[in-house]
């Protein structure tokens, strides 16, 4: 934070000097306000564009394995994935008839029910 403030102060000083050199008749107070405005605008722009989306969560060779594992389903989390689903009606009916079991059928309106929900 100290470094950020020091950088900002330096930038503001430089901004005042630039504004005064570009606009010779401007009063120092006005120059300070103009430079501060430029600095704020510049800082806002940097805040948005400099968001290093990838730096917030360090992804490298060391963290790769743990992160890969954390993304995957955890034990007991999505037990419906543990079921050996069939996806072919005819094969399922044949199996049900052969094993003397009913079908447990799950459908989604606009997708196969075990894919993306």
């Amino acid at each position: 934070m100290t470094q950020v403030l020091a950088d900002s102060t330096a930038a503001l000083t430089q901004g005042v000097l630039k504004v005064m050199s570009l606009v010779p008749n401007v009063k120092p107070v006005t120059a300070v306000l103009l430079a501060a405005g430029l600095l704020i605008a510049s800082a806002s722009w940097r805040v948005v564009l400099a968001q290093p989306a990838t730096d917030a969560v360090k992804l490298n060779a060391d963290t790769f394995g743990p992160i890969h594992q954390q993304i995957r389903p955890q034990p007991g989390e999505s037990r419906w994935m543990e079921i050996p689903w069939l996806t072919d009606l005819h094969a399922a009916r044949q199996k049900a008839a052969a094993e003397g079991k009913p079908l447990f059928l799950m459908a989604a309106g606009k997708a196969i029910s075990i894919g993306m929900c």
Binding site: P84, T87, Q94, G100, L105, A107, A108
Partner: protein
Amino acid sequence: MGRAPAYWSEENVKLIIDNFVPLSVHGADQRRQDAVGQFYRDAGLNLDKFEAVQCCVTAGGKVLEATYLGIDLQNTLEKWQALPESERALGAVKIANPGGVNIQPTESTPPAGGLILKVYTRAFMRDDAGQLCYVTGKNLWLDEAGNRTLESDYHNERTAAHQAQPDHMWLTEAEWKSLIPANPRKDDQFPMPTSITDRILRWHLNPLRFYGRYGPDALDRHTVRAGELTLTVEAVAPHAVRLRLDGFARLGQVPPAAVVERKIASLDQWGYEPRVLGFLEYEPQQQVFIRFDIVAMGEHFGRLGNGSAAPSRLGLQPLGMSFELVKGDQPADRILPGRAANAQSYFDVSN
């Protein structure tokens, strides 16, 4: 009911595995003009009328139970036991070959000689120490200020936004072969082929596809602000060529200041900026990939999904995707990626 953990208890899953033949289908099968659609219509089912529906049906087509809520399995098994032997005994029902099935296997199954990658997507939060932690209902906001969360919403039981979401990526034989340099040397670098890069960036890293409400499978090209994927040869040995995949994507909008400052959960804009890292291993003698692990991880803002019911998280939060090889010997691993109507429409995205 869908994927609410409350229904998918250890007990219920065991009951299903032990006593039923589990079948997962597309609701649109109801409208198929062939033996498959006819079976559902004859049974009096309405698979396409609900977001998710469960049914218990005999092999012969008698419906024991059908509900968009969770089926009472014990009760349904009692109904099954009450059926006459002619409808439930081993081998009592003969299933004739279906005539006139419309969909040819090549239209909905992975390409011959191709690769199947299992993909999972998961939304994370950061704990106070900045470490990844899993999302709970209270992190999933239904308004910008968090006055309504999924923890308190009655739809909570129907959401899966706190679970890893499954999907698949397919590569044709020609595509995966194009990843192997003819004479690989350590530190060689080359860009991922354009069509594969395009499909990864626009389809597989598309955060609108996940967590329901039917977002588009592929982003428009203009939605990809930037992105690239590069392969580097890390090691060459007689039994393995190891490649590293590096890249990034900048998708959707630049985050607004209120999101960056963690003042709101964005509901009307979205953006995702993942870094991509992967480790691929090719076995030259067998001519097969034996490892194809990829992670995409980065900041996301906006709804987890593409509809007005999809929740959002405060500020910028991590969204991760993992990719890994699967053999494809399980039916569940061979379903079409995303909501593609057929294999052609999936591969056409990158053409």
